[in-house]
Symmetry: D3
Subunit: 245 residues, 6 copies
């Protein structure tokens, strides 16, 4: 059940049986020569939508531009300053809380979002602490690629060159969503270098085509469908436990 | 051409022939008993995508939660505080400008966004004025329903009960995108009342089911397809003139 | 009745019979070779003061520097970043609300202020929506030159070259206030060019002496007195209806 | 020479011989049962205007709402949050600096503004320090009642009951500007109590009619004219030295 | 009693008999060729700790980086933008208030902090005023070198060359804390020049070695012990009166 | 070498051979019935100071109040809103960068700071990316208890009941610094419960005396000395590699 393609009476009805919601959150940033700029948003929303469909869980719109300053050396990348991101997450969360949602679960597709999301949560909790707000209210975040079965399948599919940015797994999920964009070209080097990242200058020097540690030529739309399947399954279980907790 | 389903080398290539981009901007807010919460985002993106496809114009991700405080009395509505919205628009624009985009065109689906967008533009220009930035750089916004042929067709299709919120025209466009959500139920009253709006309390008192002045039972997916067609046509022309200006 | 030249017991007394107040809001920006930099503030306050005198309506101090980044190419122009303007309007409004004012009417003299004012209103309403504030409270804005009789008289006085910036009508009102500054010099070109505006560079290129579409040599102090008279009359009526609403 | 009643070519001309400007800054806050709410703004602007007239010094518009939270227990008081005040002063100063002004002198009428003004100056200087801005640029502030001859005359006119808020001297200056508001009523107690101030609750408990230490029944419009005369004289000297420094 | 070296049950116990706390606040900035960069923080904390020990008063952690933009021309200086400083002081104060502290006393070691601290206090009070918070709650600040006996002793010890920055007195206090840093070198000129300060460029031009008006070669650790002794004594009295007020 | 107890010429000298600096960062928050409120600041600064002494590395003042909203249910805890924390870290970093420091290493003592620190780094890098700043400049953070030999020793000393908040290891380090505060009382339960944390209400319900998973009765000052020794050793190596990188 997607919030954006529901009517308000449908949401009113939903709130009678559940006060939980999933927010897919991604990024708009380069994913190597063969990966889509929207990969992190697309992966999060595809998996969230599938879980929503299977278990009748509400899915909010996708937070589609995140914290990606280190990718700004590559055209097409968009970034929020983290201070803006915190303000925006706060408004999304408070809007939902306003209607009575008490469990907000962010399904994240981008490692660089983890700290700003955690910081936004702390900011929201801190304001509530200073204001002496007392009611029960919880937020949590999860990277989709750390859902247990997704992580396992991912390791089995790509034992070598799975990578940490522009990974075969995330590209596979986007190819499942947009099969016409499946691109299995061999890149040079086959497996991208690994290392730490700081800012955009350092990034592009170290990782000239944008990939980190990955060989995305292995990605197939079919893998993506399998990954969505197991991840959605895990997600339903975790979300239901969180909503009930 | 959609930014999110392009690779960074494709964007690099695009920038060689054009430095213009369309940003669809909408809202996540109630649209009456039969309209979708995401109507304003869906309409803007459907038309932008169609124009992008026809003329090879780049379309950024959709800015999907806007300024909708007056709809907060209805479950499902999400709003940014305008101060957050200005910060977020600023970051989106500066990200695009960073890569060399010099013409940023916002295609808007929500009247309540017009002032915050204009204010964000003024803020961006003001910082540049105070910083003595000199280069040529332009932003503009347009409501899709004010594109001339869309406005004309809209008047012809719904001479009575077109309305100003949860309009037959905007619902028709969303039904074209999601035909399974077409809902032609007669509402009571058939045509919603009209009036001015201030905050959420006042809004719900005056417009109890969320509509203003509209009879959305007239909306048909087929109308939506026609509206998308003429609006996309107008949009291509206006955007090309803006990019060239 | 002007707030700044009243004592606090007089305001306390006023609040027993009315909880409405007018805030004149203008700008400090170039108005062509013969117009005053303070035109937009002076026009708003002259008309508000006259209405206040006629009907015993309270008039707050004038918000005299507004959003004028596009005029920064001309010496003397001052501008607030819109984000500052929103913060300041918020504080003015919350201060007045604190004392029990529930109807705040901004009489505006500058088109560039319309979006930031609307955005500030939305921000104030949004915070109240998220905080679940319930009481009745309303703000509105009006450009003085759109008050019906002012607009009509303006069209009659200057059927040609009325213009949209540094207009004959606004200069006439300032000449009524400061007759020693009446300047009826013919400018070259007699009628300034028209066009759209973006930032300060673009503005000065397109409109080298600062005027847009106007022939201000037609402005006379006597016209200004007539404009103040009819505008004040309209203003009293509109404000009384708003306060009562 | 007042900025608001000058044209932009007049400001352009002025900048050829001087890059200094005076900004009157006051407050909109209660001044006891007989004093005007706008006292601190009126006193600063009357003295600045007189100095401007005598010596051809440019005077910016009046910053008329300041930091007055401690007076909010009395109707009519308006306050900026200090964080807003800092942002607004920053924008005023940067606007003037943009046109080439390098000496900005704030003539202040309200003790509660001193810290926020100093803090705004430090913020402006700090941003410049962090940005490595190198050019010469100076700001200063002065309370008009500390100009030497004003302070002396003030002591001679009111040896007893001069006070520290709603003082006889400041009321006298406003009565010179608005003689119809001269109010020489004896108050009870004749001389208001003295003490420290914190917030609005504490203030009203300690100083029930708003005055601190003053007997404003001594104030006369004629005194105000004398105070304006000597203060303007001092101001011209101090400002000319600052501009030249 | 120091907050940082207490356990939470000890603080809980403390709050049963007192709701007051001292916050030492300093700066990290150059103090001439022989003075420590941390002088203003060290002096405030040494005196606060001694008072805390003598009278069982709770001392919060030291706010150790303040407003020092004008010293940024000298390596090692660190500064907060005043807007950041206001936010941080607000959070410190609200945290303490959250636990029931109602008297927050800032013992300050740096003149440049006075305005930002006062502004932060006004901001906190202003938010409370606009929110209609009603409870009793007070903040105050004091420069340690203005405590009466400290000021007197300081004058006796250094009748000539006491100075206003990098003073003999403040260096003496730091030498009492860190005797190995006692440095009694004669500087050239023996007594530093005096003058006004604006920004970092102006500062270093006027005061090339960082001192203002001082001859710190007179400072001795033994003087510092005497200054701490009398200042702590004064502080206990003033703080106890404030807590009881 | 500590910044606060150095003179500015000493810092100038230091910068000739190194442009790196360590910033200890902690928190002021409850650490169970026997642990100090300042534990996280004390541990970070003790280890940083020791490393600084051994290898002549500069250590900045300690950032002593961090992000601790979830501990606000226990008296004595102080917290920054994360948005304030980001602003303050930004100012500290920009101040140091201003003098030519290009490697800023934060040694952290509090898990709750990790996300805000990472977010502040991303904000600083993002502003630089949007501003096109090009120079080499790096920040990194490390939790002291994840330095390899510290982590190993910690596991050997406390194979059972090491815990994750108010741990035996961190208490031991503070007891080394303040031996008079060594408290080896057995608590009830001996080992505290484990679980996830969200906000202050949830925290105190789950962990009534503040500890998570720990048996701090095992902590000894002597252990603390050993931990400081090995951690400082690791720190020197890691920092030297970072500065050279």
């Amino acid at each position: 059940m997607r919030l954006q393609i529901s009517t308000w009476p449908e949401i009113e009805e939903y709130l009678k049986s559940s006060t939980g919601v999933i927010v897919p959150i991604g990024s708009t940033e380069q994913h190597g020569p063969t990966g889509l700029v929207g990969t992190d948003a697309i992966t999060a929303e595809e998996i969230a939508w599938e879980a929503g469909k299977r278990a009748g869980i509400l899915v909010a719109p996708t937070f589609n531009v995140g914290s990606a300053q280190h990718h700004m050396g590559f055209p097409g990348t968009m970034t929020l300053r983290p201070s803006t991101m915190i303000a925006a997450i706060t408004d999304w969360v408070l809007s939902l809380a306003h209607h009575g949602f008490t469990r907000i679960y962010f399904l994240n597709g981008h490692g660089g979002n983890v700290a700003p999301i955690a910081t936004a949560f702390a900011d929201i909790y801190a304001r509530r602490a200073l204001d002496n707000a007392d009611e029960s209210f919880r937020m949590m975040q999860r990277n989709w690629y750390e859902l247990p079965r997704a992580e396992k399948l991912y390791g089995e599919l790509y034992p070598v060159g799975g990578g940490s940015h522009a990974t075969a797994a995330e590209l596979a999920v986007t190819f499942a969503a947009y099969p016409e964009k499946e691109d299995t070209r061999q890149l040079d080097p086959k497996i991208a270098p690994v290392g730490t990242i700081t800012d955009k200058h350092h990034y592009r020097e170290q990782f000239p085509d944008g990939r980190i540690g990955s060989d995305p030529s292995q990605a197939r739309a079919e893998h993506g469908r399998q990954l969505i399947d197991v991840a959605a399954d895990d997600l339903v279980k975790e979300v239901q436990a969180f909503f009930a907790g």
